[in-house]
Structure formats: C-alpha cells, structure tokens
Assembly symmetry: C2
Homo-oligomer: 120 residues x 2
Amino acid sequence: MRPDHDPPPERPDGCCNPGMQPRISGELAQALSADLAILGHPIRLQILDMLAQRAGHVCVCDLEAALPVKQPTISHHLKLLREAGLIGVERQGLWAYYFVRSEALESLRERLLQHLSLLR
Amino acid sequence: MRPDHDPPPERPDGCCNPGMQPRISGELAQALSADLAILGHPIRLQILDMLAQRAGHVCVCDLEAALPVKQPTISHHLKLLREAGLIGVERQGLWAYYFVRSEALESLRERLLQHLSLLR
DNA sequence: TTACTATATTGACATTCTTCAATATATCCC
DNA sequence: GGGATATATTGAAGAATGTCAATATAGTAA
C-alpha cells in the first residue's frame, strides 16, 4: 500500500543499525496478522471450540443458547469465520449445521507456529 | 457436572444439543483473544521480528527507518507491547534500546499452541 | 393459502483502534 | 545557560469493529 524502500539514511555515530530490515515483509505481516485477528475475538474462539467439540452437529441455536450475544451477532461471526475459510456450513431444512474445516485450521496453526518461533 | 465427553452424536429430534457449552470459558476466551490481538497487527509483528533479530540493540530510530509509519505510531505500538509484557526497554542517554522479553513471548506462544490444538 | 420457525441481512449506533501533527520531556554538547 | 536530538505524550480525526433491533429469506407444516 505504501512504498517501503528508503535507502539507508546516514546514521550518526554509535546508535542504530543502518539499513536494518524486518525479516517479515509487509505483505507477510499483513497475512499473519489477519490470521491472528480472525482468532482474536472471544466469541469466535468459543464458536470454534463448540464446533470442534461436535463436528458437523452444531446449529446456530446451540451457539445462541450458549454464548452471551444475540443471534445476529452469532451469524455475523459465523460469516467472518466462513469467509476466512475456517468453517463450513451444511443446510438441512430450516437448520444450518456448521463444522470446522480442520485442514484450514491446521494449516493456519502451522503457519502461526512457524512464524511465531521466529520471534523467539 | 461437566460433560467433557458427550459421546452421542445423535441429536434429540430435529435440531440442537440442549445445554451444550464451550469448553473455553468466557474469561479464558477473553484472555486468549487478548493474546492474539496484541500480535494481530502487522507493525507490531514487524517490530517484534526486528527486536528478535538483534536482542538489546534496537532503538526507535531503527524501527522508524524500517517501517512505514511515523515515529509517534512506532512509540504507540511499543507502548502496547510493553504493557503486554512482551518487550522491555533500556534507556541509554538519548536512545531507547528495546528488547524482546523472551520468556513472556515463549509462554504466550505455549498458551496459544496449547489452546489452538483444542480447536482441531 | 396462512402461520410458524431458523437463520441471514440490513442499517444504525457505539466503541475501539490506528494514525499523525503538534508538543512535551529528557539528554547531550557547547 | 542555549541549541540540538531522540523519544514520549497529547489530542484529534478517520477507519474498523462489534452489537442488536428490525426486517428479509427460506424452509416446514397445517
């Protein structure tokens, strides 16, 4: 979104590491923080937890009954998780059964694990 | 009464698992999402990455030179990371040298990995 | 058809987050 | 002391996010 190549400016004496760069590029940082941000909400964490408990058998009314927000808010977070590819839905008549897409969650976990160990 | 292991994947007639609860409590979800949120910003990730590269020798001017935001914004994110306990600072004269608090970052990493594996 | 139900969407509002110019603070050097 | 420099803080503005009442949609059942 913004050019990021300032040639190393002259640095006075003893301070500073001129030309130092992050190993994590701007784009990678964006992607990683998006991964972290989609998980970074208590209701979404609890939704994922409930879906993981009973894969394929959780309807919206279960979530609504167990969580301290109203139904439109549940639907909103479900949509975000679905757009992030972390969950899927199968409609059966009136009900919508949500499930964790384990392979997506697993690869997200791998990515986080890998990059967070960089920060050690 | 804590049914950690509800074996019946059968639903009672039509929909819904009455009385279903998340394993992750509201408080734990808050704490976890705070952990995730402090990492969920590209600039903060890049700051942590740069600090991890040269522990103890990164001043604000290095960060300012390498990252696409202005100095007050850098200071703002440094403050958030410091308040989260993830980094520390040692002032030397005019300069402020920031460093990763590895043990805090490590325990955060452990917590995240542990709880994320719940969601599998 | 009509009534009912589960979920999705809309629209509005409030809150939080991000950013930066301006300014303050602290330190060094002369 | 004054001037220069590195970083911190303030304050304001816009952007993003979270929430819910109202409404829409789509299915069931009589």
